[in-house]
Symmetry: D2
Subunit: 169 residues, 4 copies
């Protein structure tokens, strides 16, 4: 619904997204990889391993949601100005089918990009030997923190900001 969604990003945007993703300790810990970075459209792939399972051996909904949340967050981030960062305000997932396969692929896609808030649709597909099926869909609201470069944060020198970024304040 937004114009230009899915188009290529500039090198600068791609670098900002990949740098930020690389700082997400959780994505590394889950073995998740950024596979596609387009304008308002980002895909993350996460191969199956035992460490990602719920009690029946499927992918745990928590991991499914984690990559969906990051995919949406970075989809929004591709459209943000330099010198800003992104936080998730809320998200909601419907888990349609047991998440079983060699890997999951989560795609976030911007539906509405505003100055402050951005809304994404999320979709997670299971890839089982090339057979693909949708296992989850979601919706997400992001907030753009203008004037707060993404590379700052917990270890930044401005501790006050780092300690109290607020979701919107």
């Amino acid at each position: 619904m937004e114009a230009g969604i899915g188009q290529p990003v500039t090198e600068n945007v791609e670098r900002r997204v990949r740098d930020s993703f690389g700082r997400q300790g959780l994505m590394v810990h889950l073995g998740a990889v950024l596979t596609e970075v387009r304008r308002g459209h980002v895909t993350i792939r996460m191969p199956f391993r035992r460490e990602l399972s719920q009690q029946h051996g499927y992918f745990h909904a928590g991991g499914t949601s984690a990559i969906a949340d990051s995919a949406g967050g970075y989809a929004g981030f591709t459209l943000f100005p330099d010198n800003s960062s992104v936080l998730t305000v809320e998200f909601k997932m419907n888990l349609l089918n047991p998440a079983l396969g060699d890997a999951l692929e989560a795609t976030g896609r911007v539906v509405k990009s505003g100055r402050t808030l951005t809304i994404c649709q999320l979709e997670v597909v299971a890839d089982a030997g090339g057979r693909r099926s949708v296992v989850a869909i979601g919706q997400q609201t992001l907030i753009c923190l203008a004037g707060r470069p993404d590379a700052g944060g917990r270890d930044a020198s401005d501790r006050n900001e780092a300690k109290n970024p607020g979701r919107d304040g």
Copy 2:
């Protein structure tokens, strides 16, 4: 709103919950620990480490949501009959504040327990040196799979069931 929520569980129920939690590869991988198991009320604690962070060094919303989802799932499971298992149908999280602290504690609490569907409220609190603040709230719908013992699953001999549990079939 449900009667008896928060009361002690039987040994049998506690064992079923702890066994099931122990099979959740993701909870182990995230360093999450089951700290409280009561009727319709379960708490999970997850100490901070770098592997759980998002790009600014806070807890990643995906990890926050993962423990909230498990806490709610097991809160529902305490009320299910033997020989059944639980799947998450959907959940929604509002992230109120940056999740920063020594540990997060997620509590799931049953609001409505039905034969098929169970609804939980979820709350995640950050514990920063004893100072506690709510960082996320959520709502969740669970489905009870009657006649499907929780210990089955991907490696069970009944492959048909394992392959096609359906969320509701």
Copy 3:
């Protein structure tokens, strides 16, 4: 994602949907009209009038959500067996833009149809003199009450059922 979504329905299904819609006092009260009934895909149109406004003169989010909920409910209902009825388990709406125009059109579309639960995506478009814009998107979970004909209900002779249909039990 489901097969056959958007295909024509049988006369029988169309009649069941229209009969049921006609019994929804709220849809009549809001001036909403069923404009399209396809397999797993239903559209409802609601012309603007003062009685539908919020405090600034836009369509109230409650009315927007009401037609989205009904559109999704009937989209699911087209795929249900005879002698069953439908209830909404939960839904979530993101309001993207102020809902301003001559009319709103809500479409519900089935994404996953299960024996017990059905998941829909919802979209509401504002039509302002032919210029169309998406004002809201949503996700919804429905439950199929098998063996409970839709025409029953509050005035049915089986008062026990009418009084205690449960959402799932």
Copy 4:
């Protein structure tokens, strides 16, 4: 979780809320009445009538959600500065039980109040001859439009603002 929630409001705040509610054509049309206005805590009551029903004769989820949305919106609004207005960003409802009774009462309660975003919990209770039961719970995100008095809107002289308020900018 916010301080002072549930405390009395000033006359000025009460008047702003009641004026705004009175301009919500939909609330009047549904027969809804503002019954309680406290700091971050607002209740709306809606007596049953045929015009509010779904196909089985219960309250339609759309009406249930409409009063929940307004209750939350005004709960947030009580904490906003003068000269601002409120819009709903998103909300999510779980419908726990069939909404049957003499009236519904929806309460919105602020959980987190930020400069830009405010998060509420929503609860809808059915009152059947004094017997009360929770029929729905929800979560909601509001945005504060600073510098945009609530009394403006569609008919305001500043048509540009009225036509393009944006949800966030």
